[in-house]
Subunit: 109 residues, 4 copies
C-alpha cells in the first residue's frame, strides 16, 4: 500500500523538513516582523503534511480528506514563501509546490 | 542545516511509514492477538520518529535527546517486529534498524 | 483567543486521551480481532483531535477546516466504539460524541 | 490508567495550548526579533507536551522518558517566557511551570 504512495510520502516529508527549517531560519533573520506570516504558515504546513503522511502510510479512509486540506495549505505557504528572497523561503516554496502537486495527483488517481 | 541531516531525515520518515503500515497490516492478520505488542510498539515508534525528524529539521537544541530516545524505541520495535514472519513486520524491522543506526551515527557525529 | 475556546480544547484533549487509552485496552482484550476497526479509528481520531486542538490554540485560519474533519472522524469512531461493551469503548464513544458536538458548536459560532 | 493521570494530562494540554497561543501572539508583537527565542521554545514545548500526553494516555512503557524530557523543555520555555511582560508570555510561563511540576510529581510517584 504505502509503497505505491512513496512519491507522495517523499514530497510530504520534504515539505515538513523545509517548513520546519524555514520557520527557524526566519526567526534568525534581521527583519523577523516581515516573516511573521511565513512562520505562521510554516507551522500549519509542517503539521498538516506530517499528519497526511501518517494517514496515507496507515491506509486511513480519511487520507483523501487530509490530502485536500494539505494541498490547500501547501499552496498558501508556497505563495507566501515565494515572496521572500531568503534561500530558505525559496526552498520552502519549492517544497510546498511539489507537495501540493503530489497531493493533487494522488487525489486524482 | 537540515540538508546535512538528510540521511537521518530519510531514515526517520521511512520508519514512520513502515510502522504505520505495519500497525494497520497487523490489525488485518488472522491472529491479531499475537501482534498486540508489535502494534503497540509501532505506535510509539512512529510517534517518536516523527517528532525527532521535526526537532532535527528545525535545528532544535533538544534534537539530540530525542535521537537517543528514538534509537531506543526503534531498537525495541525492530526486535519485536523481527520475530514475526509477515512481510510488513520484516520490512518494519529493517526500517527500525536503519533508523536506530542513523540516530546513533548522528549522535556520535 | 484560546480561552474562549476552552470548552472545545477540553473536549479535544479528553478525546485524544480516551482514544489512546481505548486502543491500548483493545489490544489487551481476548478477542482483539473484533476490535481491529475500533483500534484503527482510535488512531485516526486521536491524531485529528490533537492537531485540531493545536490549530485552534494557535488561532490558525485553517482551524475550521480541521474541525469539520475532526467532527466527522469523531462521529465514526464514536459509532464504532459504542458497539462494544468494554468500559474503555463506552468511555471513548462518549468522549467522541462530546468532541463531535463541541466541534459542531464551534463551527456554527 | 489514564484517569489516575488526569492531572498531568490536564497540565500537558494546558501547556500545549499556552505555547501555541504564545507563539502566535509573539509573532504579532511589534518587536518580534526579541521574541525569537520564545517562539522557538514554544514550538518545542508544545510538541513534547503533546507527545508526552499521548504516551501517558496509552500507557506506553516510554512515557517516563518523555516526561523527563518534557519537564526539561518546560523549564527552559518557562524561564524564557517569564522574562517577557506580555500577558501571553506570563500565562505561558505559568503553564510551563505547572506542567514541569506535574511531570516531576508523576516521575516521582
Amino acid at each position: 500500500m504505502h509503497q505505491q504512495n512513496q512519491q507522495l510520502l517523499d514530497a510530504l516529508a520534504a515539505c515538513v523538513a523545509a517548513c520546519e527549517h524555514c520557520a527557524t531560519a526566519c526567526l534568525q533573520e534581521d527583519h523577523v516582523k516581515m516573516m511573521a506570516a511565513c512562520i505562521a504558515l510554516d507551522r500549519d504546513c509542517a503539521d498538516i503534511c506530517a499528519l497526511t503522511a501518517r494517514f496515507l502510510a496507515r491506509g486511513s479512509a480519511h487520507a483523501q480528506h487530509l490530502m485536500r486540506e494539505c494541498a490547500e495549505i501547501c499552496r498558501l505557504c508556497g505563495d507566501e514563501c515565494s515572496q521572500h528572497q531568503h534561500e530558505h523561503c525559496q526552498a520552502c516554496a519549492a517544497a510546498c509546490r511539489r507537495c501540493e502537486e503530489a497531493c493533487r495527483q494522488a487525489m486524482a488517481a
